[in-house]
Symmetry: C2
Subunit: 137 residues, 2 copies
DNA sequence: GTATCTGCAAAACATTTGCAATTCT
DNA sequence: AGAATTGCAAATGTTTTGCAGATAC
């Protein structure tokens, strides 16, 4: 399905800015911050503003086209994969990796009448690469 | 054990500011932000500054006296319970609840050579109260 | 031509930094 | 006195806001 049709299917009008941003997200599954999106796209869209990136991501989140990741304070990241999965952030290279996990049926101690809408699981640690580099023992 | 001894046990010199902050955290298990801590303690310690709150929380985190919660962008919260447990944030009343959960042995799809150092699980939704209030059906 | 989208500049906020004043031993 | 702690004021960095100009149907 073409990108513009994905946007339309989520009730989002396909504009240049939105198509390019969504394209970036699904092409580079790298959980970018707003600033990273801006810097990555400014060459392609020289008139792009940070405001538009924020506007777009707010819209995408509302329309469920992306999910918003809050792993580290001061950096909101976006993920075009809205399915339920975990995130691993390497504290050394700062890369964020997706991982598959089923957290929908974890036994938890919450009262039964709490309504759970979103579930987030993230780990922090060292990825394979950085583990070897920083702990050369 | 007296608070000052808890601090000493974690290699933290017990000063008035530090004792009051730690006292607040274990007395009100309400996952306060830095600003909430500041506002809650300014009456008791009229010379208190936000800087000291930040300094203290950074020290406490480093010395493993508290854990830092990042659930929502733009609000870092602190929890004096450093054991492994989940957090539920009610999006209506903004309250954060602890819940008991065992996530140490969740089956995940990460490569075996990733070194996991921290695990965080949080849910968002509506607590019992707000569920009744906002969905009166 | 009207509604929506975009972008600039300024504002808002949380957090950090540099440095001076204070406190503790 | 000397080292650590504290607090002020200014700086930083991210996100938001108001509004004007551009774009689309």
């Amino acid at each position: 399905m073409a990108i513009k049709d994905v946007l339309k299917a989520h009730d989002v009008k396909p504009t240049i800015v939105r198509i390019k941003i969504y394209d970036y997200l699904i092409t580079n599954k790298n959980h970018p911050t707003a600033d990273k999106l801006y810097k990555s796209l400014i060459d392609e869209i020289p008139t792009l503003s940070r405001t538009s990136v924020y506007n777009t991501m707010e819209l995408f989140t509302r329309k469920n086209l992306v999910q918003t990741l809050t792993i580290e304070e001061k950096e909101t990241r976006f993920d075009a994969d809205t399915s339920c999965h975990g995130h691993f952030k390497c504290t050394e290279c700062t890369e964020v990796f997706d991982f598959q996990v089923d957290i929908s049926d974890i036994k938890h101690g919450l009262p039964a009448d709490f309504m759970i809408i979103e579930r987030h699981l993230y780990y922090k640690g060292l990825c394979s690469n950085c583990r070897q580099t920083t702990l050369p023992s």
